[in-house]
């Protein structure tokens, strides 16, 4: 759990209770649901009503097993079952109270008139309620989907935000890698951001053509021990930061086109961009 105080409604909406009933949660999650239901009557109530609904749904979609199966079951169980020794106490039949009524015609007529009017009103409002209720369910679903989308966007934002934090806080230098001096893509441009003390490397694609499915762009750090592959570059996400593997020593960075998944050493004929560390 992210926070200690969980919003109960959020918890109910999360879909966890449904999975609990379907037996799909692991032991830790099960215990959490049980504890939550114990602590919050609203959750217990929701759980009960969901169980009731699942039973109704099963019963509605269900079919009676065959008589043979029933007989077989009770034959299998036969040795196990017994007649109860202590009979269950049967409740004493309750006396029905009768109250004498004086037949009072005019009042009866008036009363039935009121009853008719009230029923008519009830039917009318029931209809209204049904309509509103339908709309409400539809809105609830829409809300659940929106909340879900929001969550995803939030996660993406947090990721980006934390990368940005590191970029601002760290001691990054920017190395521009250009394609001008090579034949592959003259206008290609990719920036490397390198924090040498923290050994962190990010790249941001500025311009890079897309590749066919059987090739990847691979980033190389060229240090005293020759080029080291430090990650695959995704050209489809321009201007967003992509984190690469750690590098402590490099005199230059370069990108080559390699077979899908990258290579051990760079294919120099397919050098796309190069940037020297100033």
């Amino acid at each position: 759990m992210k926070e200690f105080s969980v919003n109960i409604q959020e918890y109910i909406e999360s879909g966890k209770l449904e999975l609990f009933l379907l037996g799909e949660l692991n032991e830790r999650e099960r215990e959490e649901v049980i504890a939550m239901a114990k602590a919050h009557p609203e959750i217990q109530q929701e759980l009960d009503s969901l169980e009731e609904a699942m039973f109704s749904l099963d019963e509605l979609t269900g079919v009676e097993p065959s008589l043979q199966t029933k007989e077989k079951i009770f034959a299998t169980l036969d040795g196990d079952l017994q007649e109860r020794k202590i009979p269950t106490p049967t409740a004493a039949p309750k006396e029905t109270k009768t109250v004498k009524m004086t037949p009072w015609k005019p009042f009866a007529v008036a009363a039935s008139l009121v009853a008719v009017l009230a029923s008519a009103a009830a039917i009318y409002f029931a209809g209204k309620f049904y309509e509103t209720d339908q709309k409400f369910v539809a809105l609830q679903q829409e809300q659940a989907v929106l909340a879900d989308n929001l969550n995803q966007v939030k996660q993406e934002f947090e990721q980006t935000d934390s990368r940005l934090d590191r970029l601002v806080a760290g001691d990054f230098r920017r190395i521009e890698m250009m394609g001008e001096s090579f034949d592959m893509q003259k206008d290609a441009k990719v920036d490397v951001f390198w924090d040498q003390s923290q050994q962190e490397v990010f790249i941001a694609v500025n311009r890079l053509n897309s590749l066919s499915a059987s090739f990847d762009y691979q980033l190389w750090a060229i240090g005293p021990e020759g080029p080291v592959g430090i990650g695959i570059v995704d050209p489809s996400q321009p201007f967003s930061l992509q984190q690469m593997s750690a590098v402590a020593e490099a005199g230059a960075f370069a990108i080559t086109i390699e077979p899908k998944g990258g290579s051990e050493s760079p294919t120099l004929e397919k050098l796309v961009v190069l940037g020297e560390v100033a």
Partner: protein
């Protein structure tokens, strides 16, 4: 019969209570199995084993961990899924779609089933495409939510919220039947 009384009777292996349990729950529990295993004979066999297991393993039922029906339905569901996997029936031929299922019910010989089949169809038609999809795979084909997320590349959170939305719609509509 109250749930407490029912459980007490089951613990005592009381024949009357087991008969009561059968009358009240066999239809729904068999429904759980039949949704996953479309072969009627095989489903009857699984139901036999599951019901016997329920009666004999009642000692291991823990009231604090959920209600009786949920426990029983999970035993049936798991037995059905285990049987399917042991028979190595591929996911694609696991069972039919909702439509086939409903159609199967409608084609059934008994009038009772016919009427119910139409009820189910109406019920399922209340769902939108996404919800129908989730219910189909989780409820009728025995997928877990994480299997759906993986296989169809739907975020786990989305599977959960669609499952919830679908059950809310079904719940609302069941109350009206």
């Amino acid at each position: 019969m109250e749930e407490k009384e029912l459980i007490q009777g089951l613990l005592e292996r009381d024949r009357k209570t087991v008969e009561y349990l059968y009358e009240k729950y066999s239809r729904a529990l068999f429904g759980v199995i039949l949704r996953i295993i479309s072969d009627r004979d095989l489903a009857e066999e699984v139901f036999h084993d599951a019901f016997v297991k329920i009666t004999q393993k009642i000692d291991s039922y823990d009231e604090s961990k959920g209600r009786l029906y949920t426990w029983m339905a999970n035993i049936c569901r798991n037995s059905a899924i285990d049987k399917l996997r042991s028979k190595e029936i591929s996911q694609s031929s696991k069972t039919n779609t909702i439509d086939d299922f409903v159609y199967g019910l409608e084609g059934g010989a008994q009038t009772q089933e016919k009427v119910d089949g139409i009820g189910v169809k109406d019920l399922m038609n209340q769902l939108n495409t996404d919800q129908k999809f989730i219910i189909e795979y989780i409820y009728f084909q025995g997928y877990t939510h994480s299997e759906i997320a993986e296989e169809f590349d739907i975020p786990l959170g989305t599977v959960k919220s669609r499952l919830r939305a679908a059950l809310q719609v079904l719940k609302k509509n069941i109350e009206r039947i």
